[in-house]
Symmetry: C2
Subunit: 193 residues, 2 copies
């Protein structure tokens, strides 16, 4: 697979911002059942092998899992502080659950195995967003298996169809948009910032 032109820009941004752990944090917008937007920070977990799909993780119990099943359209906004550049990536989400097609399970299982112990532990915490469980033990459960993911663990994939790249450093500023067209080619256009 030849990489689309925006891939090297992401790689460069990650490299130049590597001193900031939160440069891997970005904001994922989805749409609620009532048609209103939702927005939250998620952690970029790399690209799915041999694809341009961005990897994230989530819990089947989360509101976003529910939203995505009903409306998979998404837009992430990813701001890199050191290089003062923003990527807006529009695309379609795929929620890979324990019940997803067996072709997708190896990627889900590998993702689970790559997580830190602290990240895995959150998947055996009480239901996120529900009234606070006040027994402290609820948040210090036995560590889950490190090889086999828990049922509620999901891999979340974003397949980009458009990438809008804005460089605030520039004279005056630079902005490009990358489109995936019906011939499965990525087109590039310079646009006004």
């Amino acid at each position: 697979m030849s990489l689309p032109p925006w891939r090297s820009l992401i790689t460069r941004a990650l490299h130049k911002n590597r001193s900031l752990v939160y440069s891997r944090y970005l904001q994922l917008a989805t749409v609620r059942e009532n048609g209103f937007p939702a927005n939250r920070t998620v952690v970029f977990r790399g690209f799915l092998e041999d694809t341009n799909q961005l990897k994230f993780i989530t819990d089947i119990r989360s509101e976003k899992a529910e939203q995505i099943v009903k409306q998979p359209a998404a837009e992430i906004c990813w701001y890199f502080p050191n290089t003062r550049e923003q990527f807006r990536i529009t695309g379609k989400l795929t929620l890979v659950t324990a019940n997803s097609h067996h072709n997708l399970q190896p990627a889900r299982i590998k993702m689970w195995q790559e997580l830190s112990d602290a990240a895995r532990l959150q998947f055996v915490w009480p239901d996120s967003g529900k009234a606070r469980v006040t027994t402290p033990e609820a948040f210090t459960p036995p560590a889950p298996d490190t090889i086999q993911p828990v049922e509620n663990f999901c891999l979340l994939l974003l397949e980009p169809t458009k990438v809008d790249h804005l460089e605030l450093r520039g004279e005056p500023q630079n902005r490009w948009v990358y489109y995936y067209n019906e011939n499965q080619e990525w087109l590039t256009e310079a646009i006004n910032p």
Copy 2:
């Protein structure tokens, strides 16, 4: 006006993160006409006097101005790196244009006057998002008037109805949600992170 409980949390977060200029940057999610989400970075410009409305600026020529007129529902996601906390603020946007009610014009004009010269200049640049204008002079136009805003300058206001506050630092983590109820009171609930 007595301030809702989440106001002091925002003030504290801004103070503790003041070393980072980009702690005033946040991500604004809206919904496009096709029902798909949009998401971009905007700069927090303070609260509108005697209200809980967050101030931003935008250009009437921008896609978001168009989206907001059709669907004013929004959610911002605001991550503070130093204190490792996130605010998700759900609410309704009001776009204050040159043609908005005269009651809103003083706030729009004041906002314009408070902008830097560089920020004001962007409102006389060529149309954002259109094919790049390659004549460099297009981006170095004569500076606009500093007192009277240009026609396309808009003040953008977000009236919060829900604030979801997550502290990643905590044992294990802390999360609260603040709701504005039908009695016009702010209610607080501790929820699972």
